[in-house]
């Protein structure tokens, strides 16, 4: 296996270190998605590239006076911020004690309304090889979720409920769903106020 376009492939090292112009970078990225060799090479070189990038950020071991001078304001800034943070923390503690002493009526609500929150789905998204489970992020105060899979036309294909933030799918689902065809899935739940809360409808398909 070799690079599909060696002239562009030679930009690899410069791309890794962010040295290309915008146009060259776009050109290389387009190449990257076609060329398996360069993509593999980029993946393999990533730990080394990260270290070289870090070297750029961190002063070298053999630093001179100039480097030491550059370090000093950072230390000063650190102390300054630490003092500021300590002051803010002190004010917060005093405020908390004050509010607490006001009694139960003044306590903040543990849970606010869910008006601005929605369920965030995690996977599957886009193309998958097999479908085993559906996952989403937890929503505070919610302990039960309904999950539905729809066809592109909006017909319900499968539904289930879970008290977790994932649900395992039966093996038969991989036979029920047609490979290469697009489906959508969505998580729905009910808030403590009885309001329906839904995730966005997310598209996926099982690879042919």
């Amino acid at each position: 296996m070799s690079c599909t376009d060696k002239d562009i492939g030679k930009l690899l090292g410069s791309y890794e270190l962010g040295l290309l112009s915008d146009e060259e970078r776009r050109q290389f990225e387009n190449h990257l998605l076609k060329c398996e060799t360069c993509f593999q090479s980029l993946y393999q070189g990533a730990p080394i590239t990260n270290l070289i990038r870090e070297e750029k950020l961190a002063p070298s071991q053999s630093v001179g006076l100039q480097d030491e001078k550059e370090k000093a304001p950072i230390r000063f800034l650190g102390r300054k911020w630490a003092l500021a943070a300590a002051s803010v923390l002190t004010v917060m503690i005093i405020a908390f004690i004050f509010v607490w002493l006001q009694g139960p009526g003044e306590k903040p609500e543990r849970l606010r309304g869910h008006d601005e929150i929605s369920v965030l789905v995690l996977s599957p998204v886009g193309e998958v090889t097999t479908l085993r489970e559906l996952r989403w992020k937890p929503v505070a105060g919610i302990d039960s979720y309904d999950v539905k899979i729809y066809t592109e036309d909006g017909d319900l294909v499968w539904e289930g409920s879970s008290e977790d933030t994932k649900i395992s799918l039966p093996d038969s689902i991989n036979e029920t769903l047609i490979r290469g065809q697009t489906y959508f899935w969505q998580v729905e739940t009910m808030t403590d106020k009885g309001e329906s809360m839904k995730s966005q409808m997310v598209r996926f398909r099982i690879r042919k």
Binding site: D7, I8, G9, K10, L11, L12, G13, S14, E16, L17, G18, L19, L20, E23, E24, R25, R26, Q27, E29, N30, L32, L33, E36, F39, Q40, L42, Y43, Q44, G45, A46, P47, I48, T49, N50, L51, I52, E54, E55, K56, L57, S60, V121, L122, S123, P124, V125, G126, E127, V128, T129, T130, R132, R135, K137, Q200, M201, V202, R203, F204
Partner: protein
């Protein structure tokens, strides 16, 4: 070097924009070309039935942590790092369960010598950093040109500064030298230090 179409926006920039906008549905579609490549990377290191889980976990983590990506240039390294971590987690789980019997030849290699595939499993980052510095020194001793390029990169010079330091050679030649220096460094890391990335 010919410039590509200016109208053509790279997939990675598009992915970055979709990540920032929070449009998971469109992101899932746009991610497909990279996903296929990630699948192939994972296939070289895992059993077939583990690949899908690792790829989905990678995508999930990427989505969850998307706010921390501040630059399109960081997107691919970020994805690679997540993938490496997920691969490492899988190796560790398998090691704990001692599931070596289910592995194919490549996976067996990885389990017996994880450094082959995931150097971070064996080498602490500091250790890898020390090795990298030593490898650059060896490279400089063996070939002055590649060594000089690596040192300049290590110092964080811009491409124009590197071009100037290399005597004003054409930028295309600068890129070629960086590429060859990289190849040379990888070879030294592999042959002298046994670090096969």
């Amino acid at each position: 070097m010919e410039a590509g179409s200016k109208e053509q926006r790279s997939t990675i920039e598009k992915l970055y924009t979709l990540l920032q906008s929070g449009d998971l549905d469109s992101f899932g579609e746009a991610f497909i070309p990279i996903r296929q490549k990630i699948v192939r990377l994972a296939q070289k290191r895992l059993q077939r039935e583990e690949v899908e889980d690792v790829v989905q976990q990678t995508l999930s983590t990427l989505w969850e942590r998307r706010i921390s990506i501040r630059d399109p240039d960081h997107l691919l390294p970020f994805i690679f790092q997540i993938l490496r971590n997920k691969l490492g987690d899988t190796y560790r789980r398998k090691k704990l369960k001692n599931e070596t019997h289910v592995s194919g030849p490549k996976v067996m290699d990885s389990l017996q010598n994880p450094a082959v595939d995931t150097p971070e499993l064996l080498l602490e980052e500091k250790e890898l950093g020390r090795i990298l510095r030593d490898a650059i020194d060896i490279c400089a001793a063996e070939n002055g040109t590649w060594g000089k390029v690596l040192k300049l990169l290590q110092q964080g010079l811009s491409r124009e500064e590197i071009q100037k330091e290399l005597g004003g050679i054409p930028m295309a030649t600068v890129y070629t030298r960086i590429y060859r220096a990289r190849q040379s460094l990888m070879k030294i890391l592999k042959e002298e230090f046994g670090v096969e990335l």
